[in-house]
């Protein structure tokens, strides 16, 4: 029998440990929101009714509710429901991400086909599930196809970033701009490469500050607003007028730094001037580089309905409006003609945007 002191100490320690764990997860909870409009489908397991389209979607940890990338994927799913009459189901993994594979299996066993994994973390799990269920079509956002029944939904981030660079260079009178990347990996380097090319196309002598929040493989850079703030503050102090961020949740810190320095920032993935809650931060977002994950998800479901099979990557670029710039706030309306000209040049193939800086 253990002493009472032990019990009390242990309880206190446990509570402390849980608090720390909760703090570490900071706000990434709420993964399980469900929509009232979604019909319960737990019992419709085995054989799917002939012709019925059942689309399953699995988020990554803390994905749902980010007002950006993941919510865009969900918007695409809802569009598939409204326009294609699909029955939809979206699942979030446990906060430690230990059950990504289980979710895919459960969706497959419940008769969902196609199934979409949101985020590159699903790359490996999708591959395993695809081997297990060769008759089901899978898609993975931001990761390349790795099996014959997997479609990789990729985006030409460099093209959208090129336009962001054009806009930044036109608006920054001194020709000094900045780029904050979340994690220094190939994906985010595409943003940087496009942005730099866009800026240089307008002002070849422009100064571009570049900072990455974390090195390759350390994904905390996507959810560290404090680091984003410090990085952007430095750039504004050094004289940068506009900072473009590709750093997920860390972008909030960039916007805060912009508001404090009374300068401008460029958002990413979704129209952040609309999705950011704080009104004082909305004003600093000159434009946002849109990555239309919703288009990707919807088009994939539509193509599936049309009988398309996986095994290849689909790249959503400027031509299909897979990427672009947002115009909320009207701050880039005066340079719209120049942006359109750049867009046309890319679509026509006159400009090839680099994918590596």
């Amino acid at each position: 029998m253990l002493s009472k002191r032990f019990g009390r100490l242990a309880t206190g320690t446990l509570a402390g440990a849980m608090l720390m764990a909760a703090a570490a997860c900071g706000g990434s909870g709420s993964g399980g929101e469900t929509t009232a409009s979604t019909a319960p489908s737990a019992d419709s397991s085995s054989a799917p009714a002939g012709g019925a389209l059942k689309v399953g979607l699995a988020f990554d940890i803390g994905g749902r509710g980010d007002k950006s990338f993941n919510d865009a994927a969900y918007a695409g799913l809802e569009k598939a429901k409204a326009e294609l009459g699909a029955e939809i189901k979206e699942l979030s993994p446990a906060s430690d991400g230990s059950n990504r594979g289980e979710l895919l299996t459960q969706l497959a066993d419940a008769g969902y086909n196609p199934i979409i994994g949101v985020g590159f973390a699903y790359g490996e799990d999708i591959k395993k599930a695809a081997e297990e269920y060769p008759e089901i079509q899978f898609a993975v956002v931001d990761s390349a196809s790795n099996a014959t029944n997997v479609t990789g939904l990729l985006f030409a981030e460099e093209q959208g970033s090129y336009l962001a660079g054009v806009a930044a260079a036109l608006k920054a009178e001194s020709g000094h701009v900045g780029f904050v990347g979340g994690v220094e990996n190939d994906l985010i380097k595409k943003f940087q490469a496009g942005f730099e090319a866009g800026v240089k196309s307008v002002k070849s002598d422009a100064k571009i500050d570049v900072t990455y929040l974390t090195p390759d493989g350390d994904f905390t850079g996507f959810r560290a607003p404090d680091k984003g703030k410090v990085a952007a503050e430095k750039m504004y102090q050094d004289g940068a007028e506009i900072v473009y961020h590709a750093s997920g949740d860390s972008g909030l810190g960039v916007f805060q730094a912009a508001a404090a320095a009374k300068k401008k920032a460029i958002g990413v993935d979704s129209d952040q001037r609309q999705t950011v809650k704080e009104t004082n931060l909305q004003e600093v977002i000159m434009t946002s580089m849109l990555k239309r994950v919703d288009v990707g998800v919807f088009e994939f479901v539509k193509a599936f309905q049309g009988g398309a099979k996986g095994g290849t990557d689909v790249i959503y670029d400027l031509k299909v409006d897979g990427v672009g710039l947002s115009t909320t706030g009207g701050e880039i309306d005066d340079i719209a003609d120049k942006i359109e000209a750049a867009q046309k040049d890319i679509v026509d193939g006159k400009i090839t945007v680099p994918t590596k800086p």
């Binding site: 764990a21 299996t105 459960q106 599930a129 990761s143 390349a144 190939d186 493989g217 350390d218």
Partner: protein
């Protein structure tokens, strides 16, 4: 009724009452978010429509329980002598990446390969736990503080190693990093045969992890060490009353170091079921947080291997419902609420039952002595 039996029955009754109460509290939470408790509890019991799905669900639950069981054991060893090894979290991550990397550098027949990996994991975990132990015995540093701080170091060190010195090949366009993939001789064979014995088909994916067998052996071994050896007795004695243990010839420094290192060595094995049975590498998707969950599992299991096994199965059962709950439109955070309330209520129930048992003992002693006033007896 003999006192031992009475106490055992009381403990079970306390645990059952705690779980029933936890279900009640969770129901309130479920209603508060606008879902139906009936749907939620149906989802917990919904293991799938087909035999294949049921088998997969059971394997998922047991796989989760295996890691939680090892985590609970690691924490419990320290807890038995009032050593709060909060550093299990860091110990298992360092051990996992070292074992995964060392295992990928050579190829040997399967039994040797796997044994070496297990030994490397236990050694790495034990050595990492040696740091706070040495700090405690030489400089009196509180192990709670030192192990928490060492967790941060371990987590970031592992994150650095996996993308730097220990990084393996990456496929074109792959953004996640991991150690090199283990050779097939290091893949722990699954034990789907156990499920097939019950007439179930083989589960999907990687099946029921063979590490289950290792975990069971480990549990039996730890029980033997703690309950049937001199070392186990000294651990218990130091935990119950350190000065008395010292007076009867137990060296407290030696005890702190050996208990801490044993705890760390067991912690080192936490990541192996996943690495040997499923991922075959340590990558950026490696499951974090098991060390902290182990604290809850050890508390729930009252630091005894059998109790920890039950607690791990309960947690595994609850965690498995992540998907089914969402199919039933119930927020899966219900799982975390249930786990939290169960642990808290079980701790409270333990306190109450031990008081009841103590009072009964006092009355019995008073009667035996023919006095009317209760007599103080030690628990």
């Amino acid at each position: 009724m003999p006192a031992g039996l009475f106490r055992a029955l009381l403990t079970v009754a306390g645990a059952v009452a705690a779980i029933v109460l936890a279900i009640g509290i969770s129901s309130v939470a479920i209603v508060a978010v606008g879902a139906s408790p009936a749907d939620a509890f149906a989802a917990f019991l919904n293991f799938g429509a087909t035999e294949k799905a049921v088998s997969t669900s059971i394997a998922d639950m047991l796989n989760r329980a295996v890691t939680l069981f090892i985590a609970g054991l690691a924490v419990a060893i320290g807890f038995r002598m009032n050593l709060f090894n909060i550093g299990v979290e860091g110990q298992y991550r360092i051990a996992a990446i070292c074992a995964a990397f060392v295992g990928s550098t050579f190829v040997a027949p399967a039994p040797i390969q796997i044994t070496v990996i297990i030994i490397v994991a236990a050694a790495a975990g034990g050595l990492y736990a040696l740091i706070p132990a040495v700090m405690k015995v030489t400089r009196g540093v509180n192990e709670v503080i030192s192990t928490i701080m060492l967790n941060y170091i371990a987590i970031n060190l592992a994150a650095f190693l996996v993308r730097g010195p220990f990084a393996g090949e990456r496929a074109e366009g792959q953004l996640t990093t991991s150690t090199p993939v283990l050779p097939e001789s290091a893949w722990f064979p699954n034990v789907n045969a156990l499920l097939e014995m019950f007439g179930l088909p083989a589960p999907r994916g990687d099946g029921l992890w063979g590490f289950l067998i290792v975990a069971i052996l480990l549990g039996v071994g730890i029980w033997l060490v703690l309950e049937r050896t001199r070392f186990g007795f000294e651990v218990k004695a130091s935990g119950l009353n350190a000065p008395a243990a010292l007076a009867s010839g137990v060296d407290p420094k030696r005890m702190v170091i050996s208990a801490m290192v044993l705890s760390g060595a067991v912690a080192g094995l936490i990541g192996l079921p996943e690495i040997l049975g499923d991922e075959h590498a340590f990558g950026s998707n490696f499951t974090p947080g098991l060390g902290f969950l182990g604290i809850a599992v050890a508390l729930l299991g009252r630091n005894k291997p059998a109790g920890i096994a039950v607690a791990a199965l309960l947690f595994g059962f609850l965690d498995r419902a992540q998907g089914p709950l969402q199919f039933a439109d119930v927020p899966p955070s219900v799982i975390t609420i249930m786990q939290g309330t169960i642990v808290l209520l079980v701790v409270i129930a333990n306190e109450i039952t031990s008081r009841i048992a103590l009072r009964r003992e006092e009355r019995r002693a008073a009667q035996a002595l023919g006095r009317n006033t209760p007599v103080e007896v030690a628990a």
